[in-house]
Amino acid sequence: MSLKISGISKSFPPGGVKACDDVSLQLKCGTITAIVGENGAGKSTLMNILCGTVTPDSGHFSTESAPVVPGRPAGSAEAGIGMVHQHPMRSSSLTVLENVILGYEPRTGIFLTDRAEARKKVMAIQEEYGIELDLKSPCSELNSLQIQNMELLHLLYMNRKILIFDEPTASLTEMGAEHLFARLKRLREEGKTIIFISHKLKEVFQICDEIAVMRKGKILIHKAADELKPEEVAALMMGRREDINFPERKRPEGRKHGKRLYRLQGVGYRKSESRFLRNINLNIGEGEILGITGIRENGLELLEDIMAGMVHPHEGKLHFNGRDVSRSGPAELRRMGISYVPADRLNRGISRDSSIAENLILLNYKRMHKMGILIPSSIKKWTKEIQSTYSIDGEPQQPIRHLSGGNIQKVILSRELEEKPDLIIISEPSWGLDFNSRNRLHRELDRTAGRGTAILLISSDIDEILSLSDRIAVLYNGAIVLEKERTDLNRTQIGRAMLGLETGR
């Protein structure tokens, strides 16, 4: 069954950023169409609209037989649209069979489930598509590949014709991915319409017939895969901007940096089959900004947690100022002069229900007491000073959750900078910031590095990495695939390395 999408638009919040901007697409049956794009390009929104969980502001979509009423999951289900989620939702106390037939159980009598009948039906589908799964085992025992299979089985059981796979390989090993691809080909032969969401270009070219590139809510191109080159698609995904100059940068290029301050030696960590780091070697000197980039879920978060002492590496060593800090927690690292601005600002970086003052004095209160007593007036005075230095809005006693994202980031950053650290670990600093706050933040970081502070900048935003870093390292699949001086790199090379298409150290 083919699917026709015409003129779909959706803004978050109403009237705000356009997640989908007049999207039109024609999807043929018996084809695998890839929709690729960076995080936040609007892919998920579009898919949620197709599944009926998000109502579009305007536009409509229809199958051959009939138009689909948007915004109703039941409507999308009737039209035969189904999605295999990236993080599948399931009831883990039920068995595989119960999950597969959930909501569409064959009945005997009024409310009893005909298990024998259900089992027969599901086994027939399993045989047809070669999906091996023990129907009796409880869901909690399945690995990610098996869970995916179960979701697929669920969709096939309900006879869905248009199947959406949302980053299906994100949690799979290479073997698992091969299995999946074989299955996708099989489904294509059956005449199913398949939408494949991914930002891994290699696999997209390996298995898809058509490719649509999305950026900032728009479909930029939709062509057959053999008419396109990976480089071309990568450039479209990232957005081609040749005129990158560095307006914020005040520090001289290619300057010699001070003594080596912080070093990672063969650091490895294993969180799960698909989330790991291996053999990470990095070092950073005084006054240097080392930019570490990569597409999310390639190990950036793990590296952030390890460097900040929130988790300890399974192998390898971390050295700071010649001391082994592999086993040090945040408290010890802070005492040694390391500051940390986390990516998860709202849960880790602040205490949302506490006041601005209480959030600001987190690192400083130990110096502000007199015999264990904190004087409210001196806290208030100090807070006001910081607020005016860094132009942070709000009254000291106001809960911090009332502040905007940009102001919250300033609270965190000022708190960390006031410690006069030797090293700052800062992750995704401009997430959720508007253009101006972002520029201000970049200027501040530039100035800080100019004063001799080492900055470890972890960011999945290429522009940010390019405009601030002295040296750039790219993480792909848990390892560093590229590490060079910024002046020796360009945007395309970094983009290709992020996708695992280029290496070099």
Binding site: A331, N347, S351, D353, I361, L362, L374
Partner: protein, 354 residues
């Protein structure tokens, strides 16, 4: 604007709850009482009719202030102490045991030592749960409840067995020497100087939480433990310390009941103080100063029920029933939060409609 809404929602929730409690009491009263006028009169005015009622109400207020404050401290650090009853019992028992063992102590010194012993005993009992949580991540809610449940039986055995007063017909330990009795403020009522102790405890706890370094650390740990860890605070300490403090204040409730009212440990004297402390703390909403009005309302309800019971034909069970309703309504304090949510929701709907 949003802030106002929230404040209003919270306040409204509490008021609605209290109103519902009184309404239930009145409805039950009208159904079950034959002499409706008298019952109503004694229920509402009874606690203020004479110094005995007023004094007893204020005494129950001081005990509830202790237990409410104990729960509030735990709440502040985002831990839960369900073992109040056992901690009160053990605290009272330790105070009694100490004074029975050393009757030659001077009055003031004995009272001081007994109070310290009670606080330490209660604190250690609760502190074990905190330590288990910090060490092995054992749920402190369950462990404090079970530990205290177990200790209640141990204490029961001691009170009715080895420590029992053979000359008394009651299940109680021997009586402490008169030198150690807390002076009464409004005889013949039970009100004694531990009333000021309770107020002082609230003041001290408020000062500790809002004006000291450790208080700040405790509150930050309670607000967001990951943030506290990230900031370099020792989060484990602030699992154990608030549990210890909570248990210690429960112990104070025990010693003040023993030294001020019973002058011995009676089997089951803790009943009602421990659990009601949770309700008091829930109304107070983690604010130690708010424990005072909250405990006052509770004490009033208790006294109202008992006066109406004695003076009119208010059925005995009704007192328990009213407490049950209070507990039910307050544990659904979600009501307060939901009110706010509901307002925003309705407003959002209306906005979308336009």
């Amino acid at each position: 604007m949003k802030d106002k809404n929230r404040l209003f929602g919270r306040f409204a929730g509490t008021l609605i709850t209290l109103f519902a409690v009184f309404l239930t009491a009145v409805i039950f009263l009208l159904i079950f009482s034959k002499d409706k006028g008298d019952s109503l009169y004694y229920f509402f005015a009874g606690p203020f009719l004479n110094s005995l009622s007023i004094g007893n109400m204020l005494n129950s207020f001081s005990l509830l202030t202790f237990s409410g404050l104990a729960i509030t401290v735990a709440f502040r650090a985002d831990v839960f102490n369900l073992g109040g009853e056992g901690q009160i019992y053990i605290g009272g028992l330790f105070a009694t045991a100490l004074l029975l063992r050393y009757p030659e102590l001077s009055g003031g010194g004995g009272i001081f030592l007994a109070t310290v012993a009670a606080a330490t005993a209660g604190g250690l009992l609760a502190g074990i749960s905190g330590w288990l949580k910090a060490r092995w991540n054992v749920d402190e809610l369950i462990s404090s409840f079970l530990l205290s449940g177990g200790m209640i039986h141990v204490a029961d055995y001691l009170v009715t067995g080895p420590m029992s007063d053979r000359s008394s017909y009651l299940l109680m330990t021997g009586t402490i020497s008169e030198a150690f009795h807390l002076s009464h403020l409004m005889p013949p009522s039970n009100l004694n100087i531990s009333f000021f102790g309770a107020l002082a405890a609230v003041a001290a706890m408020t000062f500790f939480l809002y004006y000291t370094k450790q208080g700040y650390e405790l509150r930050i740990c309670g607000m967001n433990r990951e943030f506290a860890h990230y900031g370099g605070l020792n989060t484990k300490v602030y699992t154990i310390l608030p549990m210890f403090l909570s248990g210690a204040i429960m112990g104070l409730a025990g010693s003040s009941a023993v030294l001020g009212v019973h002058h011995s440990t009676i089997k089951g004297f803790y009943s009602g103080i421990g659990w009601n402390g949770i309700a008091v703390a829930l109304i107070a909403g983690t604010n130690p100063l708010a424990v005072i009005p909250s405990a006052l309302v509770f004490a009033y309800l208790n006294q109202a029920a008992s006066t109406a019971m004695i003076k009119a034909d208010f059925p005995f069970e009704l007192g328990g029933l009213i407490q049950a309703v209070v507990f039910l309504l307050i544990s659904s304090k979600i009501l307060a939060e939901k009110t706010e949510l509901l307002f925003t929701f309705i407003r959002g709907k209306r906005g979308a409609g336009k």
